[in-house]
Symmetry: C2
Subunit: 288 residues, 2 copies
């Protein structure tokens, strides 16, 4: 089978119209490119569940609150196309910014409350941009299922809520985070790390795992858990912690006491690179 490389929404409609008419389930894997094995797992999940798999590759300008981050975001289309071919993707939608935003965007999707904390607090406008572009992509591709990684837990919660609140006819599928052997979550941003920074990077997942252990051991005081988990960072002064928080998994609100399933979430800066990660945790009373 050939891999379609589509750049315009008109091409998307032309290629997908007969797929829809044939009643095939379309799976969408929205990405910003710089594809890695984490994206690969999303594609594998889509491939196993859908008749037709579309990957979108679009570095979305309206979700970057810092211009330098947008400029610096890796763009590797040729390699990405080969990557998709190797994963059995049927079509890539790689629009230009002009195709996605032919005039200044007036319409934005805002998801309140879930975006108040964590990345939403430190990246103003980020989730507005994410929700808006994801809705645009869902409307363009009209997939039956769309695949997102657990690594971006707040993004996933925001998209789930948007889909539910706006009655979008799509099933959102969550796919587990893929990690390096030392635990570092795969991310397109990892390639910005120097050798020394890369050596430090697993400290984030180490802190999260420490927190997860405390939670499953039965400790419920969130402040105590966070304080103890944050000790992992003390040995690594070049790592700057942006946030380390324990939240409920649906509303993304910080909890004071861990009595239900929670997510321990963190964001750190290592040099000029920002990394995020999270783990779902069951309190001791539930996990035993």
């Amino acid at each position: 089978m050939s891999l379609h490389l589509l750049h315009s929404s008109a091409e998307v409609q032309r290629v997908l119209e007969p797929i829809r008419a044939a009643g095939q389930i379309i799976g969408l894997v929205p990405t910003m490119g710089a594809l890695h094995a984490g994206h690969g797992r999303l594609m594998d999940a889509a491939r196993s569940e859908c008749g037709y798999v579309v990957t979108s590759i679009f570095v979305n300008p309206i979700q970057f609150n810092r211009g330098d981050d947008y400029d610096r975001y890796p763009r590797t289309l040729a390699t990405d196309v080969a990557f998709c071919a190797g994963r059995g993707v049927d079509a890539i939608f790689a629009p230009t910014a002009e195709e996605m935003y032919p005039r200044p965007q007036s319409t934005f999707v805002e998801v309140d409350r879930l975006t108040d904390h964590l990345c939403g607090r430190f990246r103003p406008g980020h989730f507005r941009g994410v929700a808006t572009v994801v809705l645009k992509l869902l409307n363009l591709v009209q997939p039956g299922r769309a695949y997102f990684g657990e690594k971006d837990a707040q993004q996933l919660a925001v998209i789930r809520r948007m889909v539910s609140d706006l009655n979008v006819a799509v099933t959102i599928v969550e796919v587990p985070t893929v990690r390096e052997p030392d635990g570092l979550a795969l991310s397109s941003r990892n390639q910005h790390l120097s050798v020394e920074e890369r050596r430090l990077a697993p400290v984030l997942i180490q802190a999260l795992r420490a927190g997860q252990s405390l939670i499953s051991s039965g400790i419920t005081d969130a402040d105590a858990i966070k304080r103890e988990a944050a000790r992992a960072f003390e040995k690594h002064p070049p790592v700057r912690v942006e946030y380390l928080e324990i939240v409920d998994p649906d509303e993304m609100q910080p909890v004071a006491n861990v009595t239900h399933a929670v997510r321990i979430v963190g964001a750190v800066w290592i040099g000029k690179t920002r990394l995020i990660d999270n783990l779902l945790c069951l309190p001791g009373s539930l996990s035993r």
Copy 2:
């Protein structure tokens, strides 16, 4: 043919699934009920262009900035059902507020700029509520075409922009305003008018028509046109003018000089009832 009366989104999917699968074009006429000949014209347009016509009847709480206005809005479902039957509508979707908002809504569609003036200025949050519910209805019904009245010109501009900005796969159809013999635009709110208020109500369209004449006569100074048009209100002191403005029809921004097609738009209070209306106007240089 029987008229389906649907209350849940599950029923909507059950009834519309085979219609979509058969490749029929679904036409949606979104209303808040209290149906009148203006809605009738929307239904007629949908009936003539679509294989299957759905009318939604839902008084949307999140678009009312005043609770008393929401409480007071007329609700006449039994008569509305008969009205739809007479117009050849295939299905009515009349959900409860709980069906549309099963939990507190977190997700809102915001259309910037187009909502800065006119009704957007005087009814904070109104267009956010309108855009959000219209997108929900479009996602639930998935029509090929959706019908809106020219009377609510700013609403129409907002919905057109939302559909374009979010790549919603629907064609928005604008249907001309239906008027009483004395020029008053049909509106569900007209039934709140006392006999005396009803006698005064045509003053709004009279002012707009005066402005339209001046524009087509070649006068271009918007302030002068508005000043002259507003004289219609001087004879009727119980009428309180909320706004009288001349805007460009796409962006809904006030213009200083009428050099292209514009809309003259007005909102007035007559007693406790708020009425709006508008006319498209061509400048003298274009209309001659």
